[in-house]
Symmetry: C2
Subunit: 479 residues, 2 copies
């Protein structure tokens, strides 16, 4: 197995054999995925106990490794790609995405700078521009003007980068240089993803200097409450500088009113970041583009094709309206990275658009997906998810034992058994322990609520019907 | 290509066909890699100009996508996997690593928490413990005690996380909560990777509050200068809290004296991070373990199997001696992530060990590599790289026109034509423009110096011989 002994050509022949075997393993896994309990029946430590305590001294054959995927790994897998996985938000993958990633691994290039693989940088810029077209995002995010898009690993990283841009713009790039000095204050809603709070900690702002603004009954940030909070902070001598609005909150897909929030931010000079991690993908369909109303007022935006657009993790599309601020906030040019292309100013060096230096060639998988599905196929995927969720919400409403707990405009349905939190937790645990489906809970207005998140690549009507049958049966037994 | 129309089984059949074709493409690429110019002959914008301005409306066949890899992508690839690539540090991949990544993409799970795929978390912990054995790292980094390892995307992210841990320990976890307050001061050498400076900016410390300590003639940090700087800062009322030492600097593989630095850090209560991004992998061989002398005094450490240990990007192994500090610095538990396993305290939730929430199942590729090569194969790879570099350094020394510019204890050789910077830049540009090999420069003691970084998976003696022949010929023509 020591590739180098025999040179690249022999290594390639061995790679070919092993790779075809690995493909067969993956194909079989996808064919048989419904046979596994969606949530694995293992206790902490059980997987490790099946592994040898010491690393092998000598090479092992590839079929031994593949056999251990079945023996050791599959018993401990939570099957995110199962059509019966309804937890969190989906992390959908697809054949074309898997193969885009395979080619990326095979090429083994880094896209940290244009010069370290021009095609990787230019394809990333190009496909991110395509996504502006596909989602009808504001033209200001296109690379042809002052803006531009870049792939981040996750929306958590995108939030951090947005916050850093805002911090630097507010301080005239002094925070970077001399450190954060006390009074910077940020805002998001009480329903925002926890990564905003994490980012405030990381960036030296302080989690307590992030105000969690009240939401209305549909779990959308109240612009009046935002404005009030900003005024209170200004009166106290603080420096409001950043608002993160969410389109499609994690708990319930609440939608903050981006336009109203954006007008406040523009008037007062605050950076507006919009987090569309899950719901953003819906905008491939014209009928769902209301979610982005007012987005042209945003300074930055992100959505995750790795959630609901058939592209496996990690693939978060992050846009800024003014890339100069972003680059100024994050770039440093040491001698060993100097090169003609960078110094010409004619290229993007994506290492300056995020935290990591090294970057995989991730644009390939998004390119593969867009070409394999076409705009038409992407819209079809979104519409099917939404329509299944709407049907499910109808079934919940029609059943006296259950209630809907939040608006369900897209493909997440929040519902609960009328009754105690304990009854709902029992229902969740029963369903998940049976192994045929998987869902998680959240808390809305203090109550435990179950979330059915639809959007898996292979989820069809029969799966949602089956989930509803299982839920009703488990409720009957609990009741 | 719309996978969902026909369900998972049909999708799997289509995947199988396309995947075998993709494997053939990658295998052919690796077989033919030496036919391409290592650095591509493209100008900014040329790749984009070959791409349609608008995304496709309807699905395209997979063979059209594969054909475009040849037509559009390969002409813009910098061939990092070429055995004639000697730029930066290697980013070596290998067959087993590519296939570990393929299986990870196929499973499509997230390892953000134990519960989101127990096997992904447990394999990561297990393989990171294996790496402690393989490199003979301090036992304190093992998960069985108070420490533990985690995969980060890059050493840049590892440095940032280390700095955050240090910041929180120093402030009693107040910086996270109320923000950074002014006087925190960090230290690294003038030869350290720029990501330390970037991290100081991101974490709100301020780049100017990172002291760049002088180095000695072998480009190693001077402990006396470090101690002096700390004393000066203390006298000025500042709070020294963090030192980043490097084992194997980017410019020249200088080695900071970890033991002497560690003793200073212990005595004064500073967090010591050790960055072994490139050179760390050498410690699979007992004869190179001197690089880690004193590492038991470090609070955190990282090295990158994606540089010199046959595992493709992204795979940085990051260790801490006290995981409680790390988790305290980065964790927040929102309702939608609550689960029994997390609350039992019996599991690791790796989302709390870094910035991103979502995480690919990256331990698979490292597991595949260690099993396919065995400790024996890994040592063989390192030894071969070092021995080729030593030979090359000998050739340089024996040629009157050239001089070595720094110690070359491992597999990076820094050398230059005796003569002007311009002559050396011309030499570099001539070699890279010819296309048969690729190398970059750095600056040492103010002079332009060429770097030949060996360590590619497929680099054999004949490649290094050929590189030397090309260098001599280009020097002759320039002279």
């Amino acid at each position: 197995m020591a590739d180098h002994e025999a040179g690249a050509e022999t290594a390639a022949r061995r790679f070919r054999d092993d790779a075809h075997a690995a493909v067969e393993w993956v194909a079989r896994y996808l064919e048989e995925i419904e046979r596994y309990p969606v949530f694995p029946r293992v206790k902490p430590g059980e997987i490790r106990a099946m592994l040898p305590p010491e690393p092998p001294e000598t090479p092992e054959p590839f079929d031994a490794v593949l056999a251990d995927l079945d023996r050791v790994i599959l018993p401990g897998i939570t099957h995110w790609q199962s059509p019966m996985f309804f937890g969190y938000f989906p992390a959908n993958a697809s054949g074309p995405a898997i193969l885009g990633d395979l080619v990326s691994s095979g090429l083994g290039v880094l896209s940290m700078m244009w010069a370290t693989s021009p095609a990787a940088t230019e394809l990333e810029t190009h496909v991110l521009d395509w996504m502006v077209d596909l989602l009808a995002l504001p033209q200001g995010f296109r690379s042809a003007g002052k803006g531009g898009g870049v792939i981040q690993d996750t929306a958590s990283s995108a939030s951090l980068v947005a916050l850093l841009c805002a911090r630097e713009r507010q301080t005239g790039f002094a925070a970077n240089r001399v450190g954060v000095q006390g009074t910077l204050t940020a805002y998001t809603s009480s329903q925002a993803h926890y990564s905003i709070e994490k980012a405030a900690g990381i960036a030296g702002i302080g989690r307590e200097n992030l105000r969690l603004i009240d939401v209305d009954r549909s779990y959308a940030m109240r612009p009046d409450a935002l404005e009030q909070a900003i005024e209170t902070d200004l009166a106290a001598g603080r420096s409001p500088f950043f608002v993160s609005a969410t389109v499609g909150t994690t708990s319930s897909t609440g939608f903050d009113p981006v336009r109203a929030i954006g007008e406040i931010c523009r008037r007062r000079g605050l950076w507006l970041h919009v987090d569309g991690a899950y719901a953003g993908s819906a905008a491939v369909c014209p009928e769902f583009r209301w979610i982005h109303d007012g987005l042209e007022l945003a300074d930055s935006y992100c959505f995750n094709p790795h959630k609901w657009l058939l592209t496996n993790s990690d693939c978060d599309c992050f846009y800024v309206a003014d890339r100069a601020t972003l680059i100024h906030a994050l770039s440093i040019l040491p001698e060993y990275l100097r090169n003609q292309a960078t110094e010409s100013g004619a290229v993007f060096d994506y290492r300056d658009w995020g935290v990591p230096l090294g970057r995989r060639f991730r644009a390939l998988k998004l390119w593969f997906v867009v070409r394999a599905y076409g705009a038409e196929g992407l819209r079809q995927h979104i519409r099917r998810s939404v329509s299944l969720a709407q049907e499910f919400a109808g079934w919940v409403t029609a059943d006296d034992r259950f209630e809907l707990c939040a608006p369900a405009p897209l493909s997440l349905v929040c519902f609960r058994l009328k009754g105690s939190d304990a009854a709902n937790e029992r229902l969740r645990d029963t369903l998940n322990a049976q192994g045929e489906m998987y869902l998680i809970h959240t808390r809305l207005e203090g109550k435990i609520v179950l979330r059915l998140a639809i959007g898996g690549t292979y989820t069809e009507r029969r799966h949602v019907e089956r989930a509803w049958a299982l839920i009703r049966e488990a409720a009957r037994q609990a009741g």
